[in-house]
Symmetry: C3
Subunit: 365 residues, 3 copies
């Protein structure tokens, strides 16, 4: 619907040469077809008999019926409108009642990989797809951890969700009763930021914090080391380590050099679906040694509640941007992360000959 | 909402000089007003005391209130916003508190005809409306048949539904468990096609078919003669005749010259409502001598189920077209019918000075 | 969504220098935040500890989160996304973790006034806001009256609702069973109209009317004096006085010079929310001496029913206008009020350098 919101231009608006999280691994069961849209492109995901992930364009080349409404026949996929059949590489191998199959009869195959518990798809030039570029993540069934997983659909541009994750100062306000831990430090102190290949590393100590609830067992006061890597398009890999009070001081404000008392894990992925729709995948939990199975459910519930607090704010933010797309945001020192990351996205877009991030869609910083 | 989907042009996009099915006859009860939209034009339908069908523009010329929210006063129709009253010919015959009624005070009357059990309206130049051009159809109460009737609203361009009806190869796939009768011939063999004045005649033999269910009484094997006329805008008049196996051979592949064992009737009409909305009217049944009253209910239920299979596919197809309107479809030998019919529609549009069928709306074949 | 309906132009489309009713006074409780949109601008309303009404732009200047999702801290309002805090005058007084607050850090404050039971906001140049220009209305708790209040959201341009209120001939038709009182005079006789500063005064006698229901106690026949002021943007202040039959004659058709038998009050305000959305505030009742508490509930219920009759008609009218925006309405003698008022609105728009009322949005008269 490019024309409808005045964003109609011929330049690409998406970075294609990137790995995007399309689904949780468990969402693609053997023998089943899963339809997903990523950067406005329809995908159908399934597994071969050998368990490998296949991601094809979810639009039959014949009359554009969705292949996700089709039928798996072994490792091949048949369109159940007029019966064209496609191999897992996307080539058409059967057209009913027609012997000759033209070379152009195919759907696009997207490079796809299962890593950890996410299914990643490469939306750009297949020759450039390097599985080694997929970041490491903890699998949900890793015995060293207790994790729970979820997903939320957003009616908002993905960069607004990225902004949120790149500026955790909002924990003191948006999540003061959930994830904020009553800690004004989130907002009052600025974290350190290091550039990464396609992202940022964000790190900080939150010192002298009185633990709440079942965490009280860790002591009266703790120093919390919060560190996350944030990678394009919106991969958020965070560790939150609880140490005895004084550790931050002892380490001179740098990374801790001792094992934590409690090791929390948060891994999230923001995937653009379209210009105003995104999908947000998340896992939260802790080292198995640190948490009981029932406690992890409570930790996850609080986390999910917080994510719905974000969703309400971000979707409202999107509506207000759309109400007056020309208005400019006020930059503050809180915005270092979002600003640096948006510059990075602009560079990636420019590298593909695309247009800059439209201020009319996500505001200007 | 032309501007919203980039189809904004000054050229007409509808063929107006045509009879369109606006409603089932029984939908317009005496004394009642029925609102319908056809090719983006609002209509109100009602019957005069003599039972004649009146189709007026459903928009009072005064302030554009819908006359369908008005009141019948004899054969005249009063707008119940400010009280203007209209004769069945569309002329205004009363303006409250005003003696002089200007000549321009009128709403458009559309030529309308009841034929069979459909109400037909002519959307173009009234002088060109020839009731003789309305095709013959079987009335629902014709004692020689047992028929049931229904209607489905589509969120899709009417030509996508026409495509579906013009290429019955999809019966082998989309309807393999309903109308397809386990017959790969639908897809594997191409029917004969003859040009008609504003449409196509499509005919074929499906040979040596083993009847299922209550049709087993017809014999172990039958030859099925399937023949339909397809007329603009989407009138589908089909007969499916079951003959003893060998009849096709005996007739040299031509039309059967003997009475069928079983004579099935399917009559359907596709009516464009707007650019992305259509209404699909259908009746299905068989010769009264061939089917019990309870069997016809079962036959109709299977048919209606199949039509919902089509709706799911076609609406998905529309969404995929809209996601990337510039993409071109892959022509196959399956598309002879749709391709010829779309050329005919383009000719009709050109004949009215309109623009060509927009590929952005319905794909290009 | 200016682009979507073809109304995209750079010229302003709203009159800003005007008092708009944003809410009923009781909708803004102490300690609570109320979000409202007026002429496409998002507002948050609250009360200071002293009870004064504050109306701020409901969009934090930082990242455009809505302040209405924020928190009142005394008389100040904190954004609960990243914590910026604003004084009641709209100036930012705190940015977490940042000492320097730039001058540009503020949200717009709109002049706001509580008068009667409505909260009025001035949407234009604050220097031009004159509280004395707010018309007098009866407060809901005025002991001399018994009134009830309500509000309805419309999916229609506010001028279509104004049209409705400026031509009460529709009472004879749209409300023949509710407010019309079986009186064809509403449609058959034209009222007198006098120009007001930013509106019209509309007056008429409805003579020799047989009262219905509990009004029968007034006599077999009454003369009804109906008089209302209609002011931009859609303030409708009406008095309907029942007098003994003959009073109209005795007063020579002019205003009555004696106290009425029954004094009905209707006060309404139409507020544009956006191009196709409006909010309609209304109070109805009568002089306390004239009506029992339970009767006023019945009177109000009939009135509210009538307003839903209007809503159904006007929203349908809007849909029909949007279906064919270029079509022109037919002027009649009924339209004197709407026509004069629309000319006044055009003058107000021109006075602010805005564009004329778009015929494509509300038809042309």
């Amino acid at each position: 619907m490019a024309a409808a919101d005045g964003l109609c231009t011929e330049l690409p608006m998406w970075v294609t040469n990137a790995w995007y999280v399309a689904a949780w691994s468990h969402e693609v069961e053997p023998g089943r077809l899963l339809a997903r849209t990523v950067i406005d492109e329809p995908l159908v995901l399934y597994r071969t008999a050998a368990g490998e992930i296949v991601a094809l364009e979810d639009r039959c080349c014949h009359r554009f019926a969705p292949l996700s409404m089709g039928r798996l026949e072994g490792d091949a996929l048949r369109c159940m409108y007029h019966g064209l059949k496609f191999a897992p590489d996307g080539s058409c191998i059967e057209i009913p009642g027609q012997k000759l199959i033209p070379h152009s009869a195919c759907v696009r195959r997207y490079p796809a990989q299962q890593r950890g518990s996410w299914l990643w798809v490469w939306m750009g030039d297949a020759a450039a797809a390097d599985p080694a570029a997929i970041p490491s993540t903890v699998a949900l069934d890793d015995a060293a951890y207790r994790l729970q997983a979820g997903a939320i659909d957003y009616a908002a541009h993905y960069l607004l969700i990225d902004d949120n994750l790149l500026d955790l100062s909002h924990l003191s306000f948006a999540h003061e009763k959930t994830l904020g831990l009553d800690m004004p430090q989130w907002a009052d102190e600025r974290p350190a930021m290091l550039p990464l290949e396609r992202g940022l590393r964000v790190q900080r100590w939150l010192r002298n914090h009185p633990p709440r609830g079942f965490m009280k067992k860790l002591g009266e006061r703790v120093d919390v080391w919060n560190s996350y890597d944030f990678l394009f398009p919106g991969i958020f890999l965070q560790r939150t380590d609880f140490h005895p009070a004084g550790t931050a001081e002892r380490c001179g404000g740098g990374a801790p050099d001792t094992a934590p008392l409690f090791h929390r894990v948060d891994e999230q992925a923001v995937t653009p679906v379209g210009e105003r729709t995104s999908r947000y995948f998340f896992a939260a939990g802790a080292r198995a040694a640190d948490i009981d199975p029932d406690r992890v459910g409570r930790l996850f519930a609080v986390t999910e509640t917080a994510f719905h607090e974000d969703k309400a704010l971000i979707e409202a933010q999107q509506r207000l941007i759309d109400l007056d797309p020309a208005r400019r945001m006020l930059p503050t020192s809180l915005d270092a992360g979002p600003t640096r990351f948006r510059r990075l996205v602009d560079d990636l877009l420019a590298g593909e000959g695309g247009r800059r991030i439209p201020a009319s869609a996500v505001g200007s910083s």
